[in-house]
């Protein structure tokens, strides 16, 4: 078996990623040399890491941490003052008028792109796709790249080929984690110009406990290719619950009050380039839409658990 040269990662972690019951094979030397991910298997009792074992921390020295912190301090103090002023005003948004779209992100300047992070399978040596989020010639955000379903030949993974962009975690002042509050709305509105491929919209509602850390609500957005923009209004009742990519048997409605991330991903198993131009992502309250959840749960026999 030929060894594959993957990305250079400074720390190499040793791990048996096969079953405990297997005998020790003589392919150990091969596994030890390959820079392997930390802990990406499915744990029985609890999720140890919020990010599923992918080590994404950037290692900096303490001195650099201090310097970065001092630079950020002024900005954080301003944010804190703004929050105090909001508390003092005591004027929260009470109602979302129907027909009005409240924009979350309007991609008309490069600064908005910094609120998103792009990931693809080649980041951790799990594939060969590439993706990028930048401004298009038309002045809007362009999420583009090349999707490749080739699997790296070192036996770690079975399937490959995904690219995703996701919003960064909402932060209050002093880097405190915060969430979106979408209880006033019931529809997601996107103005996109796609290339005919199907993209997946992901709304992540990490709750308080580790069971729900990987809960993502998905919706497949079919785009029309072509030069015309398309406005997609998707009610929240149509989103489907999945965890770590697997659709759950027991489906429940999305919770609106503590939404953590919003993302778009491309993983439709078609090898080739993809381009998705986005003008805005917004929310709307549609009073005519009174469906609570689009997917029915049927009464199952008693031997089917967890449903």
């Amino acid at each position: 078996m030929s060894l594959l040269k993957t990305n250079v990662i400074t720390s190499v972690k040793y791990l048996r990623s096969f079953s405990v019951l297997c005998r020790k094979s003589n392919q150990d030397h091969h596994l030890k040399k390959c820079p392997i991910l930390f802990n990406t298997q499915r744990w029985l009792f609890w999720e140890r890491h919020r990010k599923g074992g992918y080590d994404t921390t950037i290692k900096t020295s303490n001195w650099e941490h201090l310097k970065n912190g001092l630079v950020e301090l002024k900005h954080e103090l301003k944010l804190f003052a703004k929050e105090l002023k909001e508390l003092y005003d005591m004027d929260p948004l009470l109602i979302a008028r129907p027909g009005e779209i409240d924009l979350l992100w309007c991609f008309n300047s490069p600064t908005v792109l910094e609120k998103f992070v792009t990931t693809c399978d080649s980041d951790h040596g799990e594939g060969y796709s590439s993706c990028n989020l930048e401004m298009s010639p038309a002045g809007r955000a362009l999420f583009h790249g090349y999707l490749d379903t080739r699997v790296p030949k070192d036996g770690r993974i079975k399937k490959a080929g995904y690219c995703a962009m996701r919003s960064k975690m909402q932060r209050k002042s002093f880097k405190r984690a915060s969430t979106f509050d979408w209880h006033l709305y019931n529809t997601l509105v996107l103005k996109v110009r796609g290339d005919g491929r199907a993209y997946l919209l992901n709304i992540s509602t990490e709750g308080y406990y580790d069971i729900t850390w990987n809960d993502i609500y998905h919706y497949i957005l079919y785009t029309r290719g072509g030069p015309y923009w398309q406005v997609a209004k998707i009610p929240f009742s149509k989103f489907v619950l999945g965890s770590k990519g697997r659709l759950q048997d027991k489906q429940t409605r999305m919770r609106f009050d503590k939404v953590t991330h919003f993302g778009i991903s491309c993983g439709d198993k078609i090898v080739g380039k993809f381009n998705l131009e986005i003008e805005y992502v917004g929310l709307e309250f549609d009073p005519t839409h009174d469906e609570e959840f689009a997917y029915e749960m049927y009464k199952t026999d008693k031997y089917i658990v967890a449903v």
Binding site: L87, M90, P92, L93, L94, I95, A96, R97, P98, H183, L184, T205, G207, Y208, Y209, T212, D215, T252, R253, R255, D257, F285, P287, T288, M297
Partner: protein, 336 residues
């Protein structure tokens, strides 16, 4: 609970009521703790509803906080038995015991779980949490309280209950902060007399019941629903009366217990405390009036296909408005 049986609910409700009785009528602190534990045990099945991820999270949070408070309580009881040989009311062990009971009730400064959990429960469960679950900790509090500590806690309750509700858009959280504020009043009434506490508690429960039943019938959980729904005038009037009654404005029912407490406060020369009671009540009433004013004045849209037909249930609303307005006057006839 896989099914939503009424028989299941009846069973757990029965144990819930029984546990409070165990707790308050036991002649040993250990019996009190047992009652609190059974209370927790029987309340959890009532609130855990596995159809919804939010309610699962909520019931787990409730379990964790309450069991922590119970552990604390038990430990302090045991320390008291083994170390202290006197029956002094004002010492550090009583502070710890009071703290654990205050945490059970959701009183400041242990209140952080309360709005969070109230946000995840349905209206009927909220009613149980805000009224019945407070009985046994409060009566246990009355058995062994530390006066100075409790007065400090009362002040914190009042301030946090009034200031916390100012920036809320969710009706449940609003009622949670109002409940925290009313806890301040109730704890002070415990220090005056148990009879007065019972009176305050009954009237508070009645007011909360009227509010919650209104919100439950109209299925309203957030403030935007107050403006969107095409409520007829009498429902809005009922909302006005009940909110003002909860805030303690005369001539509504809610003013009566607060009046008696202020009477006691002034007779015993607690002037600073009276000042705080008054000011925080004002802040709460300010917020209620803001909501009612919006719901009366703003007429965002009258949609023809959302017609809130309350013709069958108007009797309950009319009755509750009547009680709120006239109970002050009618109560004078009782003592004639």
């Amino acid at each position: 609970m896989l099914t939503n049986n009424n028989s299941n609910k009846m069973f757990f409700l029965f144990i819930l009521f029984f546990s409070t009785l165990i707790s308050i009528s036991s002649n040993s602190w250990f019996g009190c703790w047992i009652g609190l534990e059974i209370n927790l045990l029987s309340f959890i099945p009532l609130i855990s509803n596995s159809k919804n991820l939010l309610s699962v999270e909520t019931s787990l949070k409730y379990f964790l906080t309450q069991s922590l408070a119970s552990i604390n309580f038990l430990f302090m009881i045991l320390i008291k038995f083994s170390l202290l040989k006197n029956f002094n009311m004002n010492n550090i062990i009583s502070i710890m015991m009071n703290s654990s009971l205050l945490m059970k009730m959701g009183s400041a400064p242990f209140h952080f779980w309360f709005p969070n959990i109230v946000e995840g429960l349905s209206w009927m469960n909220n009613f149980m949490l805000m009224t019945w679950q407070k009985i046994s900790p409060m009566i246990l509090l009355s058995y062994y309280f530390n006066k100075n500590f409790l007065i400090f806690m009362i002040i914190m309750n009042l301030i946090i209950g009034s200031l916390g509700g100012l920036n809320q858009t969710s009706l449940r959280k609003l009622l949670a902060f109002s409940s925290i504020n009313n806890l301040g009043w109730m704890i002070f009434s415990i220090m005056i007399s148990e009879n007065l506490w019972l009176f305050y508690f009954l009237i508070y429960s009645m007011m909360i019941f009227m509010m919650i039943s209104l919100f439950f019938l109209m299925n309203m959980y957030f403030m935007n629903q107050l403006f969107i729904n095409n409520m007829n005038f009498f429902i809005k009037l009922n909302l006005l009366i009940n909110f003002l009654s909860l805030g303690g404005l005369p001539p509504f029912m809610g003013f009566m217990p607060k009046w008696i407490i202020i009477n006691f406060l002034l007779i015993n020369k607690f002037y600073f405390l009276t000042f705080i009671f008054m000011m925080t009540s004002l802040i709460i009433i300010y917020y209620y009036i803001r909501i009612i004013y919006s719901s009366f004045m703003f007429n965002y849209f009258k949609m023809k296909w959302v017609n809130l037909l309350m013709k069958n249930n108007m009797s309950l609303i009319n009755l509750s408005s009547f009680i709120s307005i006239s109970s002050m006057i009618l109560s004078t006839f009782i003592f004639m």
